[in-house]
Chain length 345, copies 2
């Protein structure tokens, strides 16, 4: 740490001190590949760098960007940072952006269309170089507009056909759960499917259903309940599912850990012991899952890596590289909430 406030010394100051022209100093300090590009005499370069270090010179990014037309600023839009999943992805973003010398703004859209548009405009008015969109809706017309406006962006967390994204392989995740429950003897299962506008919800659900059916199981439409991605949503959905006396499932797959926790609460209230009377599996393996009174089985998705990959992709786009979507593979963590054999009734 230097003991002065960044900005107190400018390129001009350095140049004056050294008897050089500011442009020379700029060239040296800017020099990407040191000796390369014959930017300056090694001796001069050394003097400049030494002084810069000594006085704690820190270039003014606004001034630089005014010339370069690049702000090295990235905008990140998420449904809500208070969703642990997005918070962790953002940690990955922060890390990767920091490494690449980019800074990030992050804003919550609450999955509200008007808010999404507003936040995008705020980001653009700040002149971010590009956007990471973590709240894409499947009917995402806003994305088409962004494309038309030539705004560089990539998707994270949720995928939409036709756009570059960094996501978990949600279809596979759902399939892993179906296989697990099937193997443990469950034949009557239900799904707390999440929000219909999110690819995560849709893909996890369809991955689950496909595999379960492929194994010979049956899942009626009525066994799929769409609900908000939170504890209350999960609780309400589970309540609906468990109160239906015509079809009492022995297992529930919730596409999100928080919904799963809500479902555990509902089961509990109805006198069902999760892990014996009812199996519950969540998704994302958030830090809470393993620590719950009844440990929750969950599909572990590489959230940090998804954030990091999103940054890589966006930097690729900014660099005019050809980039391709990445889908990271999840793994299933079986815990007490589903670690038992379903015995025939």
């Amino acid at each position: 740490m230097t003991d002065i406030r960044p900005g107190s010394v400018t390129l001009k100051d350095l140049a004056a001190e050294l008897g050089l022209h500011p442009s020379t100093v700029s060239r040296i300090l800017h020099g990407e590949s040191d000796t390369a590009r014959g930017a300056a005499a090694p001796a001069t370069a050394q003097r400049v760098r030494d002084l810069a270090k000594k006085v704690g010179y820190s270039p003014d990014p606004q001034a630089a960007s005014l010339r370069t037309r690049r702000t090295h600023l990235l905008g990140v839009i998420v449904p809500r940072l208070s969703d642990l999943v997005l918070a962790v992805m953002y940690e990955g973003i922060e890390e990767a952006a920091d490494d690449a010398n980019y800074s990030t703004f992050v804003m919550n859209s609450r999955d509200d269309t008007a808010m999404q548009r507003r936040k995008v405009e705020v980001m653009l008015s700040r002149r971010v170089d590009g956007l990471i969109i973590g709240d894409a809706h499947l009917d995402g017309n806003i994305l088409d507009e962004l494309s038309v406006r030539q705004v560089p962006f990539v998707l994270m967390n949720r995928a939409i056909a036709g756009f570059t994204s960094a996501t978990c392989d949600d279809t596979l995740g759902g399939a892993l759960v179906a296989q697990h429950l099937w193997d443990r003897g469950h034949r009557v299962v239900s799904v707390i499917a999440g929000e219909k506008y999110a690819s995560t919800a849709v893909d996890r659900t369809s991955g689950f259903i496909s595999r379960f059916r492929a194994l010979g199981g049956a899942i009626p439409e009525s066994a799929i309940v769409w609900a908000p991605f939170d504890t209350m949503g999960g609780r309400a959905a589970a309540d609906t599912i468990l109160r239906n006396t015509n079809r009492r499932p022995s297992a529930i797959f919730a596409v999100n850990d928080f919904a799963a926790i809500g479902a555990m609460g509902a089961a509990n209230s109805l006198g069902l012991l999760v892990g014996r009377d009812l199996a519950i599996v969540g998704f994302n393996d958030t830090s809470l899952a393993a620590q719950l009174p009844i440990a929750l089985s969950s599909v572990r998705s590489p959230m940090l890596d998804i954030g990091r990959e999103a940054v890589k992709l966006l930097l690729g786009v900014l660099n005019a590289d050809r980039v391709e979507s990445v889908r990271l593979a999840p793994t299933l963590c079986v815990r007490a909430s589903s670690d038992f054999e379903r015995t025939a009734t």
Copy 2:
């Protein structure tokens, strides 16, 4: 939403289009209090504003800040955004900052001293106008340095004597819990106290102890266990507490909901039924508390407001106002985990 990319039209473009000088256009578009300051003829002003709107003019903030020496950027440093408490506070910050036309950077320091310094430097090199520090340590020498360097900042969440902060009245929060447990008949209690370097942990704990003693209770030093603010920390601490056969408490106060959840897990593993054999109370009333299988009693702190207040304070500091720390009052939410009378053994 306009259909062009911000930055495509400049002040000069507007001026040319209207046959005015850029400085005139600037004065009009900048005019804080419209008619005030006699900035321009009403008719001209109208023409300018109409055109600006029509073409979707958006001023370049980097250019403006280069002149004004104000970036309208705020830096926020938190231990980790994946801590729900900080994530919610940040939502409050985002809201208030947005309303005041400021944008915010947020970075995670993981409560690591070296990281805190690094993040501060990154923020300053970006030329933020001020800092909101959500991860202050009680031995906070870094804050003194910032003061010396004349960096405008305020604290949030954690308070340190001598610095302006927006926090919950943690002492009161702890006292509320002590009163509640005492009223329900608990005489042997323990505290999962959190991290010693955080004022939140220290104040909640001391508030609890003071009140409990004032009521006539006794709490030995050994009944206070310092532990990380997360589920695993709480679990380990509760395990230590509950395995001590010399002193088996009938109630545990965890200064943080996540630690409380961990404690519930530990109790559960030891065959204790929380809400009957053992009372547990957490802190912050995060969204999970009410939804747990056994609903968790918790002290509700106004997290959103704390974030908003922090922004207000910082803007005050930037405005050279005299500002005073705010401590917002918490309330206790009693739920199943502690809603029972302790019967004498």
